[in-house]
């Protein structure tokens, strides 16, 4: 098997983005279809940047499932471990509403979705060992059997020296009980090498204890993590290393169309730069640049930038 730079694991979904914007969704009459879902977006984003990427997921055995797999294929992502659900479960949907750049909301269809039925039987342990890094998404922890698939995949990764990246990707839907969120997210965070998330997501991870960034990272550095990135929206982001360094990254200002997709494009740019052995400081720039490009465009996946677009933006804004 070819060596992969990255495998992402979790949901791949379909986004229906409003064509007519700056209005409530009730008044939006036409929608354009894109691939969505955080780990799918990161797979597409990093593949577009030139990494060798695969994804482990489960989608519906219908036209929406076909669309997702076809798109991922064409984006250059290895879809060998995209399993088709055989119990009639559906691919998740997200309808976006863009009232203004500041007022964006989403309407999700996540009942009985195929991705949360990803199971340990859906992939081979060997596949994970072919990768440099495994990225798992917090949402995949929200229900069984997907939850156990994450635990198993992370266990395999750790036993074989595959770097584990945990993208907190917290979505309130589909978690059944409050206490499950922090219990399972924290178990995986403690096992990960790199943890990425917004300040709000770290709050969920910690059971809403109201910790500061310093307290958050101190707790996690007692366990496996070596690098932790906490994002603060327009205020930029902070990367912390186990050795005690703290590196700040700022957000690039662009024409914002909507806020969706910022996190996934940040992760894509950041991971790409780390794989290319850039400094953490530079990786934060790649992440921020990728995010600022995506939020100015209509989709979260199709809009993923190329390396030259990212580097051009960084140059322009620093020049």
């Amino acid at each position: 098997m070819t060596k992969l730079d990255l495998i992402t694991l979790g949901r791949a979904a379909v986004d229906f983005n409003a064509n007519e914007i700056n209005r409530p969704m009730e008044e939006t009459m036409t929608f354009t279809k894109y691939v969505g879902g955080s780990p799918a977006n990161v797979a597409i984003g990093t593949a577009k940047l030139g990494l060798n990427v695969g994804m482990i997921s489960r989608v519906s055995s219908d036209q929406h499932g076909n669309f997702v797999v076809d798109y991922m294929d064409r984006a250059g992502v290895d879809t060998k471990y995209f399993k088709r659900d055989t119990e009639g479960r559906k691919t998740g949907l997200t309808f976006t509403e863009i009232k203004s750049p500041e007022e964006c909301s989403i309407l999700m269809y996540r009942d009985n979705v195929a991705d949360l039925y990803l199971s340990v039987d859906d992939f081979d342990d060997d596949y994970i060992t072919t990768a440099d890094s495994l990225l798992v998404s917090g949402t995949a922890l929200s229900q069984s059997p997907s939850r156990e698939a994450v635990f198993h995949a992370v266990d395999v990764a750790k036993r074989h020296g595959v770097e584990v990246i945990f993208e907190l990707d917290y979505r309130p839907y589909t978690w059944k009980r409050e206490e499950e969120k922090s219990i399972y997210m924290m178990e995986i965070a403690k096992k990960a090498d790199i943890v990425l998330g917004t300040r709000d997501e770290f709050d969920v991870l910690e059971g809403d204890k109201g910790l500061s960034d310093d307290e958050s990272v101190k707790h996690l550095f007692n366990h496996s993590p070596k690098l932790i990135v906490i994002k603060h929206g327009v205020k930029g982001s902070k990367a912390f290393t186990r050795e005690g360094e703290m590196i700040e990254g700022k957000a690039y200002k662009t024409e914002v169309l909507k806020t969706f997709g910022a996190g996934d494009s940040f992760a894509s740019g950041f991971i790409y730069a780390m794989k290319k052995e850039k400094s953490i400081e530079d990786a934060l720039k790649y992440g921020s640049a990728a995010a600022s490009i995506v939020v100015s465009k209509h989709s979260s996946s199709e809009a993923m930038p190329t390396v030259s677009e990212i580097e051009e933006l960084i140059k322009t804004h620093e020049g």
Copy 2:
């Protein structure tokens, strides 16, 4: 309360119809949003023809639910008994695929949908007694508590002399066990005054016994039904009366875009004509004309014709 000509009871949903047609859905990138669902379409269709119509349903407390209720309101349907689900259940969705006029298919999202949670507590018995007729949809029988809501509504209607119209509207989704279909559909068919459906739907009703039209109606005429309409697609339809009459109606030939919506527009035209005391023969013409207009257009609800469009088509094709 104003006297209503008709109350329909059952699902109201959202259709996403492919804008780019004559291709598989995988290659369709944009969709237009319409109200859908058989009893919603009939409510819209008959309201557009000038009847005084209300609907009893349950939709989501989100943008899709708002859209449905707003649209029904503007179409002149009384939406007083459109209840909002408070448990996070969603409005059902239907994506249409139009490969060719002969090859149309749909992809439905019906897991945990609000309409199947319509309950006896969602409407007042008095509301039903304000109507001349109550139309119930077979799909509303597929699960509890919607199933019991239908039984209760039909019981109220019968006790108060409100005519019961049963539109078989069979959809394979959401029925949990094979035997439930014919047991509950047959219970309601026996209690109805008028039964409408395709030959295939009568087969489901009868537990796939392979009956002829004559056998089907003979069995039902032992119970409450007075008028039964069995539709045979392009071959036209047959109306049977308890008194032993059989009246044939033919289908009008038009430029067919897709087959969706034919049944609901037929029911709308047919019911309108019956309320206007046309003959059964004429009512079949109104039904067929309405159907032939809707299948030539993009939607199932927005495309519902006016009286003059129907009468023009009948005149033209007979002239």
Copy 3:
């Protein structure tokens, strides 16, 4: 196939009756095991009286299921259509508490019980046609697929001229929603030839409208029933005929140990007498006598009396 006098359909369960009585169950340390469940008790009771009886039920594939079937076999009941659940579902349990003859209560284990998974596939229609009468129990209507099995069995019986006896047998457990009770019990009551129940059970059947006995029977006599028996505990019972007769039966006074089993033994005695073409007046006596014998003994099934015990008691109390 031999002609059967009676087939009962519904649950067969295991009773654990307190050995040490006149105390709360918490202080009862030993229990004796019996077969229980209303239609099983009636099958045992009528078989013991000499009728030719079969039962349709589903029990667990374990020692409790074996015990039930062995016991029924030895009691002379045809157990050909006792199906074994293959999904690990259990036989229902009832623990009895006898604080005093007036204060009896029960603790039931009815979660996921095998009997409520009786399905239309578990029996052959032909079997029902071999019987003179089919007795169905209200509890079997409380959940699917057992509910549909009752509808189907009653439909088969009616199509083949088999008399349908509906023993209301209302138990609050296992009914999921309030409205289901009266909707489904009333559908079956309307189809039955004979309806038996306590005044409280008729209230449930009618949706707690507070009807009098006269109102209750007037409503049902508009449909299939020909004979209705309403029991009023120690005040005796009343039988009503479609022709307008009302016959009162009194309760026999005996040494009461507990109240369990009174209804099932009444039904056994009453049905036996009707099959033997006794008068309704006499049938009420046979029912009351059987009940008074069972409430003076420890179990509801094992305690079922013989014909001579019943006739002896009637003679003694009248003499």
Copy 4:
């Protein structure tokens, strides 16, 4: 709050033990009621030996729930955190069948049982910090929300220096999917200070990899455990220390009535001895002696021995 030696967490159930033995359960007609469930038995066993013990559990709001709590109270166990289920869930039941000392089996009622609905809200973190040790049972991991209650309790214990004892207590029932067993049991085993189980239970813990005792303990000693006891039935047991010691304990031969309760009485004797600072060698003797006494008697809880009974047996068998 008083300092407790031990808190056990998990199920408390009711056992119905066959009075007539050496026969299949089908032929057993009377049963005697006892408290049961592994962590309840250990709480009773250690309390009887003189330890200061509490238990965290959830039982039914009925007579069986009352019986359990009353019995535990009288046995001297602190029942402050025995919560009553308010959703109608039942206390689990176990019926025992004793065909011969070698052929014992059980029939469990575990559908929708209260103990698996123990939640993090049912106990205060402070209560756990009052104890020297917390014993959690593997069965409590089989379903949510009890699973999360275990994770949370273990997390609290570890943060406050409370020793965690993990009694594997594997029961095939109630686990929904194969992969869940080893994933969650292993997570807790890695966090525990002491792990106790049979060789078969270690196999389940490890995902049936067929490891030897040496391989099993080597893996776990990479994590938190300091002491691991693997039981081999009549062949005795082996205790392993993180420091590399292995101490063998032998089983005492007694008149065996049944095999139930051996594990819980072993744990009770072993934990008691460790708390009394006996050597590991002696603790294994106390465990084996307690087990050999319980298997010669009728129950698993009531039969728990006193210190003098244990010490007498040890002396006799060595003397």
